[in-house]
């Protein structure tokens, strides 16, 4: 079996986004939006003092599972926690409008979306990044509620939904105690997220969402490493094996479901914190079927790559699944250097 751990790690280096606090550019963009929000809220409330709030990073950067986007439209996820009670502000869209009004005209496009307020940045007409501001308020007993719905939503969709963004980040970040083990966990999530970007259209709900993949890994990922030196207990990680096992674990958790006489296989991944919703619920039944088929193709490609002797051939198969950022080594980098041979003539019969 070809050992391509080097190429797996090179691929990871090519696709990974550093954690938010290590990423100066994105941090600066976030701070500009936060400054603007502060002055906008002050203006909006006039002589009154606006409610106080704290911000925090959330999403994949915070969890260490971010990848570079294919279309260079980076997203920045920020939580805004207002120190007000949902009992005093029953309308979540009202709070979203504060944020919207404070940031309006800051860029060409600011939008109230169902789970957040989004500020879009463009350069020469192309999106370069956007900031998603998720708005939270207090419930009773330390609980947090997320503002959901937009202005045009029906009243039943304008709701305060209980949420635990810090709890979720902590679960993902603390899934593995050993820091090297945790790195294999995060690498595996990143590999699959890039595969998703390559293999699925970004329109609508065709693609499984990143947090769904992350939580699936939280539930079903198994470490794959072997101890190469029992004296120092140095571990050698096998990312391809770990990824293959994780993909198979996902495939075997699809459950049949009957819709109007037709059976569909669906994968449900439950959020491990409130509101414990299914992260893939928005995917349609046909989209789910395509998700499963693509996972099966990926699983086959991984197994085939593992059977290859030549690492070049193994990497060619994987590049078809993961795109051009997956490296194919040169022949000379895969062969051992040895001295030249001298042959004699030959006579066979």
């Amino acid at each position: 079996m070809a050992n391509i751990q080097t190429q797996m790690q090179q691929f990871h280096e090519a696709i990974k986004l550093k954690r938010f606090e290590e990423n100066k550019t994105l941090r600066e963009k976030r701070d500009i939006v936060l400054e603007r929000l502060k002055s906008g809220l002050n203006k909006l409330f006039g002589s009154e003092t606006p409610p106080s709030y704290e911000y925090f990073n959330q999403g994949s950067y915070e969890m260490g599972t971010g990848i570079k986007p294919l279309d260079s439209d980076y997203d920045i996820d920020v939580g805004l926690h207002f120190n007000i009670s949902k009992e005093d502000y029953p309308d979540p869209v009202e709070i979203k409008k504060w944020v919207y009004d404070s940031l309006e005209n800051h860029t060409k496009k600011v939008e109230i979306r169902r789970p957040c307020v989004t500020v879009f940045y463009q350069k020469e007409g192309e999106p370069i990044y956007h900031v998603d501001l998720a708005i939270y308020v207090n419930g009773n007993n330390d609980t947090m509620y997320l503002a959901k719905g937009h202005r045009e939503s029906a009243k039943e969709h304008q709701i305060w939904e209980e949420a635990d963004p810090h709890g979720l980040s902590d679960l993902i970040k603390n899934r593995f105690e050993d820091s090297e083990d945790a790195k294999q966990f995060r690498r595996t999530i990143r590999y699959l997220k890039r595969w998703k970007d390559i293999k699925f259209s970004s329109d609508g709900h065709a693609a499984p969402i990143g947090i769904g993949i992350t939580v699936a890994a939280y539930e079903w990922f198994i470490l794959k490493s072997s101890i190469t030196d029992s004296f120092s207990s140095k571990k050698e990680y096998d990312d391809l094996e770990a990824l293959g096992c994780f993909v198979r674990a996902m495939i075997c958790r699809f459950q049949p479901k009957c819709v109007e006489g037709t059976w569909y296989d669906r994968l449900a991944v439950q959020l491990p914190v409130v509101p414990h919703s299914d992260l893939f619920e928005k995917m349609g039944d046909c989209q789910m079927t395509s998700f499963k088929e693509k996972l099966e193709k990926l699983s086959e490609a991984i197994q085939e790559a593992q059977e290859k002797v030549d690492p070049i051939e193994a990497c060619k198969l994987l590049q078809e699944q993961f795109g051009d950022d997956f490296p194919i080594p040169s022949p000379s980098s895969t062969g051992k250097k040895r001295s030249p041979a001298i042959i004699s003539s030959s006579s066979s019969a």
Binding site: V309, S347, A349
Partner: protein, 167 residues
């Protein structure tokens, strides 16, 4: 198309790449007028493993003598091909053994083949202590491993050509 993979006596694997395989199969003696052919095997010892990949082969060149039932390979031109591959690959493409054809369905090495293989093991200068020997029959290919310190060559793989067309 599947490429042939054999288990070597040291536990590593030997793979014949597609280009090397198709080059050899062109010389199959499946017609009565086709004479014997042969050449040397070249490829890589894969890093961090015991695996070997045959990437390329030489084919009959000027100076070689081809008959229906025997083949004589001249030294110089094949040696030049080995030197060139070694240089161009920064010292990573190596001489790994030799191949020739037989006009029989399932190839069996003749006593003179075995003597010739032993001569290569003793007289050639190569890295490591094994060489590989391939005989291309009309319906299948056989792969033997020869060891410097053991005069018996071990058959490590035999593949019917139908094996390669399954995918």
């Amino acid at each position: 198309m599947n490429t042939p993979i054999c288990l070597k006596s040291d536990g590593g694997k030997l793979e014949i790449s597609l280009p090397a395989l198709s080059q050899m199969l062109k010389f199959r003696q499946n017609r009565c007028w086709k004479s014997e052919a042969g050449g040397v095997l070249m490829g890589r010892y894969i890093r961090e493993s015991l695996d070997v990949v045959i990437d390329d082969v030489t084919i009959p060149m000027r100076g070689d003598r081809r008959k229906r039932f025997n083949f004589f390979r001249d030294r110089d031109r094949h040696q030049r091909a080995i030197n060139q591959a070694w240089q161009e690959s920064d010292g990573t493409t190596h001489y790994l053994g030799e191949w020739h054809t037989h006009p029989e369905k399932v190839p069996i090495p003749s006593p003179s083949d075995r003597a010739n293989w032993n001569r290569h093991l003793q007289q050639d200068i190569f890295s490591g202590d094994t060489l590989f020997f391939i005989i291309v029959g009309t319906e299948s290919i056989g792969i033997w491993e020869g060891h410097l310190k053991n005069p018996i060559h071990i058959l490590i793989g035999e593949f019917n050509y139908s094996h390669f067309n399954t995918r």
